[in-house]
């Protein structure tokens, strides 16, 4: 019997199942690649950093999964775990939605920040998680990113941000828009401090996040095939854009138009980051050098 039949699912339903497995490991042994329909053995998929070994499709990663793929084992120390969303606008159903996503992800909001080691570099990292409210940036996300950047400035550390977001957190209204200015202003301070700022776009990186701290990295990398652009998918749909190029709003489109430095497959990401961090490392001033 073909593995696909084991699911008893076909087409759309099978893809949906594959998507559902993005956030939590599926109980089953097998997963079907949503892009090429290849049936993938889950253990193999894990070993391959959740990249399809046939077509190279990059599955979404949860924040802690992502940290596991780049930060040296046992070196990650999370910051600001006590921050959690309020409902400043008293927006209908916002608290319920937050509670649901907290349960689903085990996170307190859509970004995890902390320090860790990559090779012999100590770095500050911020890692977004799409499973929490579509990775959207509200007050907590903005505050955690700014605190992480300020920590990096105080301790003279490089910053690496992994972005994945549908944009601003609509339920926090104008306050979420202000997080764009707040995070970008912190990036300016980081710039003034002369510290490296590296951004990695994961699928999707759009709207308010793409138009703020994500797009002003010293180095900007993207995973292959990620959705990357200003107008969120639904907004672009509403605007009724026609004559869109086939690769519109993808990593490849952004590379072609000069908006990112490189597309880096997940397996090569850690070694690429180490090369860049080596390049940026402040030269040690030897006291007797003169």
């Amino acid at each position: 019997m073909a593995p696909a039949q084991w699911f008893g699912l076909k087409g759309k339903a099978a893809r949906k199942t594959a998507r559902q497995s993005i956030d939590a490991l599926p109980d089953g042994l097998w997963t079907k690649c949503p892009k090429c329909n290849e049936i993938l053995f889950n253990k193999e998929l894990e070993k391959n950093l959740r990249v399809c070994n046939k077509c190279g499709y990059h599955y979404k990663l949860g924040a802690h999964e992502r940290i596991g793929t780049v930060i040296d084992d046992g070196t990650f120390e999370e910051m600001d775990t006590g921050l959690t969303p309020a409902n400043p606008l008293e927006f209908p159903d916002y608290e319920t939605a937050i509670k649901k996503d907290k349960l689903k992800t085990g996170l307190s909001d859509a970004v995890v920040t902390g320090t860790g080691e990559i090779g012999d570099h100590k770095v500050v990292v911020g890692v977004a998680d799409f499973a929490f409210r579509g990775g959207s940036m509200g007050s907590v996300v903005g505050e955690k990113i700014v605190r992480a950047i300020e920590y990096a400035i105080d301790h003279k550390l490089p910053v690496i941000m992994f972005t994945t977001s549908g944009g601003a957190r609509m339920q926090e209204g104008i306050l979420s828009l202000m997080q764009m200015a707040k995070t970008a202003a912190a990036c300016a301070k980081l710039q003034d401090a002369g510290l490296p700022y590296i951004v990695v776009f994961a699928d999707p990186t759009t709207a308010g996040v793409h138009a703020s701290y994500a797009s002003i990295g010293d180095f900007i990398f993207a995973e292959p095939g990620a959705l990357v652009g200003f107008a969120g998918a639904r907004v672009a749909q509403q605007a009724g854009l026609i004559h869109r190029p086939d690769n519109f709003q993808t990593s490849e489109f952004q590379l072609e138009h000069g908006m990112i430095d490189r597309i880096v497959p997940r397996r090569e990401l850690k070694s690429t980051l180490i090369k860049v961090l080596d390049f940026c490392r402040a030269k040690e001033v030897k006291p007797d050098a003169a």
Binding site: E172, L177, Q179, A185, Y213
Partner: protein, 331 residues
Amino acid sequence: MPPNEWNVLDFEKPITELDAQIAEIKRLTIERGEDRSADIEILERDRDRLLSEIFANLTTWDRVLLARHPKRPYTLDYVRVMFDDFIDLHGDRLFADDNAMVGGIGTLDGRQVMWVGQQKGRDLKDRQHRNFGSAKPEGYRKAMRLMHLAEKFKRPVVCLIDTPAADCSVGAEERGISEAIARNLMEMSTLKTPIVAVVLGEGGSGGALGIAVADRVLMLEHSIYSVIPPESCAAILWRDPSKHKEMAEALKIASNDALRLGVVDEVISEPPGGAHRNVDLAARSVRAAIIKHIDELSKLKTNKLLEQRYQKFRNMGVFEESAPVASEAGE
């Protein structure tokens, strides 16, 4: 004016009906030489009472309609009244001149300033020429270029905001609309000269914020400032674009909401019935507010100015914070 014209909002109709009556009597006064000033006075008093009644009970959606009013004064209408003298400047030196973003130098009662702002068009041709007030990357880069000139020559910057959103066409994506806005946010946050921003009409999301990282952010009474248009938000969150009125309330996009949330520093009162009923008075109010804030900011040393600007945006946002979770290591 006939009360059922396309550029009159439903809730304005009783007012414009009285306006029409008053105008008619005035015309007759001149034509027939009769003194009807007592009638006019009564009608005007009625109209003004009605006006303040209607405007005391506006819903948020009514104010969205006012912010987008077809007769609402646009950026250049304010520029023409506010500045004693001005010239406009063009181009981003990289790609093009964006007609949706205007800017230049101007004089405010002896103070030389750089001004930038989004510009909407009045008729169909003009609207297309201005791209409906939606600036492209070259617009944001032009604005930033002018702001850097202001920094170089130590002149304050005045940002006039009126845009539904930034342009999201294929061309805008190709030339990096996100990068252009993000860079403005970053560079404005450290620009070494005072910046005063005024939301005149629509403060549409990132497109507005791209020229609104200012030391003082002001809003006209019937302007709006929102992360997303209420129609789009209702379509996305509630899957029902027809709930835009409820969404406008929920998103809290009116000027008094923004003031309460600490996002703006001052709300500038509009003439009775809205800025379009007395453009001169509206522009003079905006001018007075800008001058007041520029004069206050000009007294600050640059370091202090920049630290205050950083802290202003640093402190925006509302969240809860408890003790770190048990397994927390950190410092």
